[in-house]
Amino acid sequence: MPDTAQDLHTEVMDLILGPSHPATHGTIRLNVKLDGETLVEVDVEPGFLHRGFEKECEDHKWNQCVIYTDRLNYVSPIINNVGFAMAVEKLCGISDQIPLRGQYLRVILSEMCRITDHLTCLAAVTMELGAFTAFLYFIKAREWFYELLESVTGARVTYSWTRIGGVRADIPDGFADKTKVALSRTREVLAEIHRLFTNNRIFLDRTVDIGVISREDAVSYGITGPWLRSTGVAYDVRKSHPYLVYGELDFEIPIAHNGDNYDRYLIRMREMEQSIRIIEQALAKLPGGPVSIPDHRYTYPDKQLVYTNIEALINQFKLVYEELRPPAGEAYAYVEGGNGELGFYVVSNGANKPWKCRVHPPCFPIMAALGQVLKGYMLADIIPTFGSVNMIGGEMDR
């Protein structure tokens, strides 16, 4: 029993935080034991958003699963789309046939989604710490990217943009110019936010040395992303195992060493700047040509051809009715999501539906560690720490 409980003859109090608490975002329950305001024990109870992602995938054709991946991390759906498509492409052995333009577009839109992911995370953290104005700044910038993504995919949140073997749509005319405007305006917003928060006394008090995780613990829990990088480990899938065209682009992996909430805020801010750099380079290097592989066992033929050419018609018919059939086998593909390594483990038995489609959500190991991380801090420290996890119910509970 803690000392204060003995001195003052108080008892340890049980408190249930959530599943829908006004000061948190995301549906999750924290069963907390409190000594005064100190957290003695935190038991994290997720699962309120479980909707059987894997079970549903096993009943749908491969390309239909792309739509489910949107709902995993719904603030950066394109990264999920890309990760799933890469896993199936790896299974089919067509990873190296994706046209360069398609790969560049996947990188550009993934990085946009990374920016929206980080903006959303930081917006929520700052709002929950009382800074509602800052929330609007972040969301204003996020809106520009939502508009750009909408101009490509036709949707604002659930993009379903990739297809196995490529992407569904090329970028519209004028996309590059609009993106450049949005990027330069986002740089201004980031500078504004830096001025608001980076040396803000209230913000520092709430985040510095709060929610500290050691490097050993982070590694042992299997944590990746900003949480791992805040402990000084420069692991980023884009650098360690370059996929798509990340190897050809110049960017840095920001790291920090204290492993606290403030470091994770700084890392997310710097990562957005790096993402802006990546998008600018990728737009400058963007080659012409097709966006999907021309192999019509995987992708649809041009609509004009379907109506005029019998082979194209047959291809279209076969793809719609039978879908692609990857060879029997298993593959694990991983990309860098907003919160860390996002992995897809797919197993095929040669049919047109996955035998197994497992997603490794990046926030899952962080949530597993959260109970241990929070122990010993104050009740109010749950809010910024949980906020910096950026738990997305969709991918946590699947």
Partner: protein, 187 residues
């Protein structure tokens, strides 16, 4: 790079490794489940696999050893990966827990247990994680129907007390909802 690890693993545990492959570029070793903890400990300590990246199971309904538990290991310092698999039969789906080796194994094994019914021996706390405690069956097994429904539970407060406006059988607290009200989802 990871090919060397596979060779080392085969040389070190020739009787524990059932088969290996590296299709799709993923080095994979299928090992006997009795040797799992020993092999994993060696992989972590001698081959620098500091991270257990992912743990899941696959249900091969109809095969003799029905379940395959799949571990994805990652080495930060040497930047390579390995997939380790172990098969367990349906009538005795038990496997050693890896919680002594990696802290992250705790939640992964809880999840695997509730969805596939694989019991991890030595796990400190195999409570359900994403499902609720009253859930019957293992939903990701292939013989669990896609439209399987679970009975509706009464609303019970954690201490065992009923909430004041609980919709109990008599319905005398609060207004009783029509029979099919759960069809409309939760609010």
């Amino acid at each position: 790079m990871s090919k060397e690890v596979l060779d080392k693993l085969l040389a070190k545990f020739p009787d524990a490794v059932v088969s290996t492959h590296n299709r799709c570029g993923d080095e994979t070793a299928l090992i006997k489940r009795e040797r799992l903890l020993e092999v994993m400990r060696w992989l972590r300590d001698e081959c620098a696999f500091e991270m257990l990246m992912d743990l899941t199971a696959v249900d091969y309904l109809g095969e003799e050893l029905r379940f395959e538990v799949v571990y994805h290991l990652k080495s930060l310092s040497r930047n390579y990966r390995l997939r380790v698999k172990a098969r367990v039969p349906e009538d005795d789906p038990t496997l050693a827990s890896l919680t002594p080796l990696w802290k992250g194994a705790n939640w992964f094994e809880r999840e695997c247990h509730e969805f596939y019914g694989i019991r991890f021996q030595g796990h400190p706390d195999l409570r359900p994680l994403l499902l609720y405690p009253e859930f019957k069956g293992y939903p990701l097994r292939k013989d669990y129907p896609l439209d399987g429904r679970q009975p509706r539970l009464p609303l019970i407060a954690p201490e065992g007390k009923r909430f004041p406006r609980a919709l109990d059988e008599t319905g005398h607290e609060g207004e009783k909802l029509p029979e099919d009200s759960h069809e409309h989802g939760e609010f």
